[in-house]
Symmetry: C2
Subunit: 437 residues, 2 copies
């Protein structure tokens, strides 16, 4: 079998990692793939030659568009990130009949529908294993490994920066801003941490997972996104006392009414395996009707873990080159002609349990009144704990867990509770997921 020729766009962290892994493990990879995989061309604005191995066999330039048009190249690997010119480069590569591998979650989540349609018309493949949960082969698992199942829900820790921050807050009682600064110093968080801590990065990945799980078009704009910046150390502590850990989860679930698509901090019972996924690691829990729950864990970012997924995609494409395009694994797991128009639910229509914390004046009747408001809206209380006022303060913390209820009802209850004279400030609300059915 002829060598497969790859054009690499970007020689930064992931691009460099990809070159290094392909160089170091060339023999092992060829023994698996049955052919050599050669990066013959690369385009990069700048790069550090000292950190790269095998660069001598690569023609490096700064014109990415020249690479995607190069007739000698079979597969274009897009590792420059961002929306533009990544989108234009990928579409141009497809137009030129190239297969594409990308690690770009933002690009796929926002422009994937357009990109896959172009690819299908041209009969080429676009692979994106590295776009979700880095080195964990989660796309392969959902798209192929669980093909027998009706997927019921997916819940994932899919942003390592956020998980590092929450882990430090739990283990050391530190506060959010303090840990964020450390994460930036360690290189886990970007100088502008918005995408990570506000949940946008996780929402990109969840959008992709939901499409693979349920066969719906990519709908990033319908993903509900809530970050972790407002999580306070006391909530981490109270959750722990109740037997829960707070994790930043991406959750997508198919219900009778539609598909839930939401990223937010979540209390999970601490005995669940996923509650014990700590630090920068990622994990995705997938519930299928036949297989039950399965979990996939590993590094969600970093040069070589991401390269691991990129190279696996290249090998997959090398193998599928001779297959009838109709027999390939569809981009979004389901045949493009058989995607579903099941609607994405608004948060008002989502049902979950809740953790509530409020600052209540330490006088009789407050708990009864709060409980009454909840009861009137049909909300059952699972647990209620009054925390003693701190020294010098007059208000006590009232912490409660509710049974599952419609979010619309919970928001209505919170409005009423916040209107009480004896409740000060806002009610803190964090969703609770049991992840057991």
């Amino acid at each position: 079998m002829d060598p497969v020729k790859v054009g690499l766009l970007g020689l930064g962290t992931v691009g460099g990692g990809t070159l290094n892994v392909l160089t170091r493990n060339a023999e092992e990879i060829a023994r698996r793939a049955g052919c050599d995989i050669q990066i013959t061309h690369a385009a990069a604005k700048s790069y550090d030659p000292d950190s790269l191995t095998g660069l001598d066999r690569v023609e490096v330039g700064d014109d990415a568009f020249a690479v995607v048009k190069n007739p000698d190249i079979d597969i274009v690997v897009e590792l420059i990130g961002g929306y533009s010119p990544a989108r234009e480069l990928v579409l141009e590569a497809i137009e030129n009949g190239k297969h594409v591998v990308t690690a770009n979650k933002a690009l796929i989540a926002l422009h994937g529908n357009e990109i896959f349609e172009a690819a299908e018309q041209k009969g080429v493949m676009v692979a994106f294993e590295a776009a979700v949960a880095g080195g964990i082969p989660i796309i392969k698992a959902v798209r192929e490994g669980l093909a027998a199942n009706k997927i019921e829900w997916v819940a994932g820790i899919i942003n390592g920066t956020g998980n590092f921050i929450l882990t430090e807050m739990k283990d050391k009682g530190r506060d959010f801003g303090d840990v964020l600064k450390e994460a930036q110093a360690l290189g886990y968080a970007e100088a502008d941490p918005t995408f990570d801590v506000e949940g946008i990065d996780a929402a990109h990945k969840l959008t992709i997972l939901a499409s693979l799980a349920f066969g719906i078009p990519l709908q990033f704009d319908k993903t509900y996104t809530e970050g972790i910046a407002s999580i306070e150390p006391q909530d981490v502590t109270y959750a722990d006392q109740l037997g829960y850990r707070i994790k930043h989860l991406g959750i997508t679930r198919k219900t009778d009414k539609g598909i839930e698509l939401r990223v937010h901090p979540t209390l999970i019972p601490h005995r669940r395996l996923i509650a014990n996924v700590d630090g920068v690691m990622n994990a995705v829990l997938v519930k299928g009707d036949a297989v039950g729950p399965t979990l996939y864990y590993g590094a969600g970012a970093g040069a070589e873990p991401t390269a691991s997924a990129v190279v696996a995609d290249i090998v997959d494409i090398a193998r599928a080159l001779t297959a009838d395009p109709n027999h390939r694994v569809p981009h979004l797991a389901f045949q493009p002609s058989h995607l579903s128009d099941t609607p994405v639910l608004s948060m008002d229509d989502v049902v979950t349990a809740y953790y509530l914390r409020m600052s209540a004046q330490d006088k009789p009747g407050v708990v009864a009144k709060v409980a009454g408001i909840l009861g009137d809206l049909g909300i059952s209380i699972e647990a209620i704990q009054q925390k003693e006022p701190l020294e010098g303060e007059e208000t006590a913390n009232l912490v409660m867990l509710t049974q599952p209820v419609l979010e619309k009802s919970m928001r209505q209850a919170i409005d009423s509770i916040e209107a009480m004279d004896s409740i000060e400030g806002k009610v803190v609300m964090i969703r609770v997921e049991y992840l057991d059915s």
Copy 2:
């Protein structure tokens, strides 16, 4: 695309589950595969029609050899288990140009080399995802998802019965025989539990994982196998006090000298995710040089979890039907012409850390003498704890953890310790793995 026609051998637990999943999820599966998958024929000695759906569209007989010869069938699914006639049926199916799917770990571990060679000569595929860890797509992960990596080691909880027993022993302080009886009553363990508790079933699966990870032929006869029947509640307790859990692990590791291939009870630090995999669940931890550690968790047995893997294999084969056979995923991950002859190491040459427990007379100098024996053999002690004698007994338990050392040296040390007058009976030895590098 034409429907793919499947002949099913066996309508027991997994065969019935496969029929039921293919019937219930027919539409979902066809939307993914791009074609219908139909079980047109089945062979079974006996079955329970009330537990099966879709049986009306299947021609059921009792002659399995008639099914494997039937010219209308594309894929034969072997779910009768055991060595014979499973081996003859699979070889006959291959001879007749059928692709084969099997859940039969014993068959693949012992006869896989012969079966894959026959399949390669005939240009057909033999898929066996269900043979290792039930519904977890671990074969796909190792063979395809991690194709970029040099795999360094694999460690798995790959027998649910054994893990259920160890979990109950830990959670409830029960002893082995007591829990085994309950496992049999619950249907988790067979009436003859030998394969599960002596580690033979795990050794079958580990043999397969090692070949996929390192590209070596299947070598079941070289797998070291030690069961869990001798684990005592006190060892579970002492391990816990030291910060470890005892799990029955299959471990395969590539070292400079060769490949370790071993199934035995193992102490694991309790903070490792895999140490928290409880009950009948399975999990496999795979360390790749690029991706780092990844873990795959789910149900390792049961009708529908196993069927999930069987059906995923059928879909994979349906997709690969038109591909050039040279471009398919190789049976053992590496091209058959590129398998490696790296030797499997004897246990003497394995290096691990150890947990030791011995019954020592409660008098001065015993600890010093034991430590001296270890020291003379270059074995460093990590921790040592003397447990008070129980009421009415004269011997105390001496519990220690050692640093990693060659097993040959450890066995020599144990011989010397057991020869001491002040040590009574045998030394309990359980290997320790940190699973962090």
